[in-house]
């Protein structure tokens, strides 16, 4: 009888903690697990979200569809919660912050032309479009603390030109659902200033 009481009490405690956790996380429950990228076995530093200069353009134009080959991107990795716009924005900003602070990554590319293209590759969208993975980096293969490498998908992409502070329209995002990817390209100089941006959304 005592053991039965103990089992009951344990079950009540476990249920209480679990239900409280479900309530706290009600907006973030997943329908499938979000997995780590297979490439790279190094630690990822996670920083608090900070104010980050908006890197996206103010004018968006839709170009025709073109074929793009797969490229190797090495950079910093982040999980993005797409359900909460405020949270996702801070997660993206945090990732850009980590990218900008990763001196090893910037030293791994040549700055002889004065600028390089930084890629922000959104991939691994969950089935319910609640989460995605983002890697921000350069088209290089290198290793280092906090870096991951991924092969972008080859295929037909629709090109969106981005002006000074615009974002991709919602239909561009949802066209990436559920199996798609989005590849942003930002031309940056050695001071970190962005001179041009566009986005490729796989069709």
């Amino acid at each position: 009888m005592t053991m039965l009481r103990h089992i009951l009490l344990t079950s009540i405690i476990v249920a209480a903690v679990y239900l409280l956790l479900l309530w706290v996380n009600q907006d973030g429950l997943l329908q499938q697990p979000v997995w780590a990228a297979d490439q790279g076995d190094t630690a990822v530093e996670q920083t608090r979200p900070e104010q980050q200069e908006d890197l996206q353009g103010s004018t968006v134009e839709t170009e025709s569809v073109a074929t793009f080959e797969s490229i190797t991107i090495t950079g910093v990795l982040a999980d993005i919660d797409l359900n909460d716009p405020v949270l996702s924005r801070s997660q993206v900003e945090s990732a850009w912050q980590r990218f900008s602070e990763h001196q090893g990554l910037h030293r791994a590319v040549s700055w002889s032309t004065g600028s390089n293209i930084a890629y922000a590759y959104y991939h691994h969208f969950s089935n319910d479009f609640s989460t995605a993975r983002l890697i921000i980096g350069y088209q290089i293969s290198t290793t280092g603390s906090g870096l991951h490498t991924i092969q972008s998908e080859s295929g037909n992409y629709r090109l969106y030109q981005l002006g000074a502070s615009a974002e991709l329209p919602d239909d561009a995002w949802t066209s990436a659902y559920p199996d798609g990817v989005i590849l942003e390209r930002h031309r940056i100089d050695s001071n970190g200033s962005v001179s041009a941006s566009d986005a490729l959304v796989i069709q």
Partner: protein, 296 residues
């Protein structure tokens, strides 16, 4: 409060796990050196004390070898299989989830710990940890052969509830690491509010005692409240006598590592009936088919 919802990537969880584990070992090692220094000042460092400490770390090495080769892959695979196929929901890996998992892992640990004390087959491996006649940080690293297997049935339900296995493993590690730092005599009783809620060096000294009033008490990992709830709490009053009721009297790490199963199987094979043999495996230590108390 947004940071509490921030997703912790699998890579970050693995990095954090290694970071906490490694630094926990460094801190524990530093406390051990301090303990030995204090013993040295009091001229209490003997060959047996040092030999016991060395043996403790050798049992740790043997435990890691067994875990890595025999248990580790199966353990991890089973957690992921349950998580991927049977999880009720998939909980996001954020700080809220990690904290809740630590609490649930702690209550799971309480029952796992009570199990290995009260079931012959479990006690045979856990007795190794209790067999040291001393009480210092090195004793925390004194492991038995199957200690890595015992958490499995008690923590696997967490994968069913939807916790990322990496979050579960980190929670298990935190519960273990917390207790590592409790294995010391240099800390007396802590302030009453702390002693009331948390497991402390004082509470854990009681747990390691072979004094009759201390046997099978204070099973807690982090929170002593589980012992108070389930009637297994005992306050530290009399001086603790460490070790098991029938001492092992050796610093040979191989003899220490296998003494529990050695004694158990000796009893099992000497049993006159199948019922008696099974009884030794599943009944509490000290149980005997005849009407006689034996060693535990």
């Amino acid at each position: 409060m947004d940071y509490l919802y921030q997703i912790l990537s699998d890579e970050y969880l693995e990095y954090l796990h290694r970071f906490i584990d490694d630094w926990g070992f460094v801190i524990a090692g530093s406390i051990l050196l301090l303990e030995l220094l204090l013993l040295g000042v009091r001229k209490l460092v003997t060959k047996n004390v040092l030999g016991d400490a060395v043996a403790n770390f050798i049992t740790l090495g043997m435990f890691i070898a067994i875990n890595t080769v025999l248990i580790g892959v199966m353990y991890v695979t089973l957690f992921y299989w349950v998580y991927l196929n049977f999880a009720l929901v998939y909980l996001p890996s954020n700080l809220w989830t990690l904290v809740a998992c630590i609490v649930l892992a702690d209550i799971a640990y309480y029952w796992e710990h009570r199990f290995v004390h009260r079931v012959g087959f479990g006690w045979a491996t856990h007795a190794v940890h209790h067999s040291s006649p001393y009480f210092n940080i090195s004793v925390a690293y004194r492991f038995g052969p199957l200690d890595g297997l015992m958490p499995l049935p008690f923590h696997l339900p967490l994968a069913l509830l939807g916790f990322n296995p990496l979050v579960i493993f980190m929670s298990e590690m935190i519960v273990q690491l917390y207790q590592t730092l409790l294995h010391t005599e240099v800390v007396g009783k802590l302030p009453k509010p702390v002693e009331a809620v948390f497991n402390t060096p004082s509470h854990h000294r009681v747990h390691h005692g072979s004094n009759p009033e201390y046997i099978d008490k204070n099973y807690a990992g982090i929170f002593i409240i589980w012992d108070k709830m389930f009637g297994t709490f005992e306050q530290e009053k009399a001086k603790v006598i460490y070790g098991v009721t029938t001492p092992v009297n050796t610093v040979n790490p191989l003899k220490i590592f296998f003494f529990g199963y050695g004694r158990l199987f000796k009893k099992v094979f000497a049993a006159k009936s199948l019922k008696g043999a099974l009884g030794y495996l599943i009944k509490p230590p000290g149980w005997h088919p005849a009407d006689k108390m034996t060693e535990g």
